[in-house]
Amino acid sequence: MALVANAINVLGILFLSHAVYSAWEHSLLPSSSLPPSPSSILPQALDPKINLPLDIVLETLASVFFLCLGVVLSSPSLKPIQWSAWAGRLERCKEARKYTEFGVGGGNPYENLEERPGFLDIRGANRDFAEWIRHSKTT
């Protein structure tokens, strides 16, 4: 899917640059088209004063459509905004709990209400650890 989306993006960029270049080239040819009558809606400064052929217009529109499609398709999947869905993912899979940087990751943020690092019984933890080592050596 990512490959297809990227291909569409590249196609869109190619078409868009081609269309822009064609329009530029076309505007340089004085004999290619008759200048249109001055626009009644646009202000004087914004009036392009040239006629673009239909194929360049169509190419521009198509390339913009391709780019929109590509950008939408290549965007990452949406993150859950519902509390229960987010919490459920944390419980369910290990990947969601991974520490990626400081303060990001680590699963249930309320876990420390049960572990309580502020009230850590270090002597007990030390004893348990020694017990675990002894146990794993004998078995």
Binding site: W83, S84, A85, A87, G88, R89, L90, E91, R92, C93, K94, E95, A96, R97, K98, Y99, E101, F102, G103, G105, G106, N108, Y110, E111, N112, L113, E114, E115, R116, P117, G118, F119, L120, D121, I122, R123, G124, A125, N126, F129, A130, W132, I133
Partner: protein, 322 residues
């Protein structure tokens, strides 16, 4: 899986603690640079980051747990150099180090006196208040620990960690009613903590099994069922919540039909309890099936919890076969 250095080693498995403390020596060595630049140039070479000090703290805790006191001392000294001796967190870390390296009861008493001295100067050093309570609990003086945590809560009644600790202390003394009250206070502070809802459900369930009066028991079971329902509402596929929900509803289904009509008004109707029981069974079976088949994104449950679920479900099917 390589354990991340950013993972706090307090509640993690012994393997992660070993991994962290084995990496401690090389990490501390890497932090000691051979030369230091003169003052104005050091500003351009800032190596301080939150990650760095989080790793220092985790390394210190892991080394204390595994008994590697030399590395712990180096890490502690680095933290003292950086943050100063009077920083709340550093004071607590230094206390932890002293506690872990104390040889006998007399030394522990001295550390306790040291805590008292700090608190006499400034009673709002919460990290030391907590250390003092933890040390009292570790020395087996639970009643004094309860007083210490209560005093802390007088000063800071929104400290959820302290309420949870107080609940645990009461629970260890068998005072379930007080324990439930403390957990309710925790939920006032953090109403979205799904694990605390499940915990409250568990303690209520135990309290229900302890009471003799049938009416009171049904009421407590219904209360416990509601707590578990809230925990699974806050967290999809919460194994602990569904396990408790199944236990509570199963017992409620045996005790509800024996109740008198007059008492049933504030109890849930049997039909909805039955439905909840079926839902919990279906969810647990689903979790068990998907986890044991190794489906992608379902590898987060602990093996012990899954084994307990399998046992519970097996017991259920045996009953039906008979």
């Amino acid at each position: 899986m390589a354990a991340s250095f950013l993972q706090p080693p307090t509640g993690s498995s012994p393997q992660t603690a070993i991994h962290l403390s084995q990496g401690a020596a090389s990490f501390l060595k890497s932090q000691r640079s051979a030369f230091t630049l003169p003052w104005p140039l050091t500003l351009f070479l800032n190596t301080d980051s939150q990650e760095k000090w989080a790793i220092y703290e985790n390394t210190l805790l892991a080394c204390l747990r595994t008994g590697d006191f030399d590395s712990a001392h180096v890490a502690l000294n680095a933290m003292i150099d950086r943050f100063g001796k009077t920083n709340d967190r550093v004071v607590a870390m230094a206390g932890l180090y002293q506690e872990a390296t104390a040889d006998d009861k007399k030394e522990l008493e001295e550390i306790l006196e040291g805590y008292d001295d700090i608190l006499k100067e400034d009673p709002t050093v919460f990290s030391i208040q907590k250390r003092r309570a933890a040390l009292l609990k570790s020395m087996g003086r639970t009643a004094e620990a309860v007083t210490a945590v209560s005093a802390l809560l007088e000063l800071s009644p929104t400290d959820a960690e302290a309420w949870a600790e107080l609940s645990d202390l009461y629970f260890s003394q068998g005072l379930l009613e007080q324990s439930i009250h403390c957990l309710e206070e925790v939920l006032v502070v953090v109403p979205n903590a799904w694990n605390m809802h499940a915990k409250l459900g568990e303690v209520t369930y135990i309290a229900a099994n302890r009471t003799e009066a049938a009416g009171e028991q049904s009421k407590l079971l219904a209360e416990s069922m509601r707590r578990f329902c809230r925990s699974v509402e806050l967290c999809d596929d919460y194994l602990r919540g569904y396990y408790g929900l199944k236990l509570a509803t199963t017992q409620l289904l045996t005790s509800l039909p024996t109740q008198k009509k007059s008492q049933q008004s504030d109890l849930p109707p049997i039909a909805s309890v039955q439905k909840l029981n079926e839902l919990a069974t279906a969810k647990l079976a689903n979790i068990l099936r998907r986890s044991s088949s190794g489906e992608k994104g379902w590898d987060g449950y602990s093996a012990a919890e899954l084994a307990a679920v399998r046992q519970l479900l097996d017991k259920d099917t045996q009953k039906i076969q008979r």
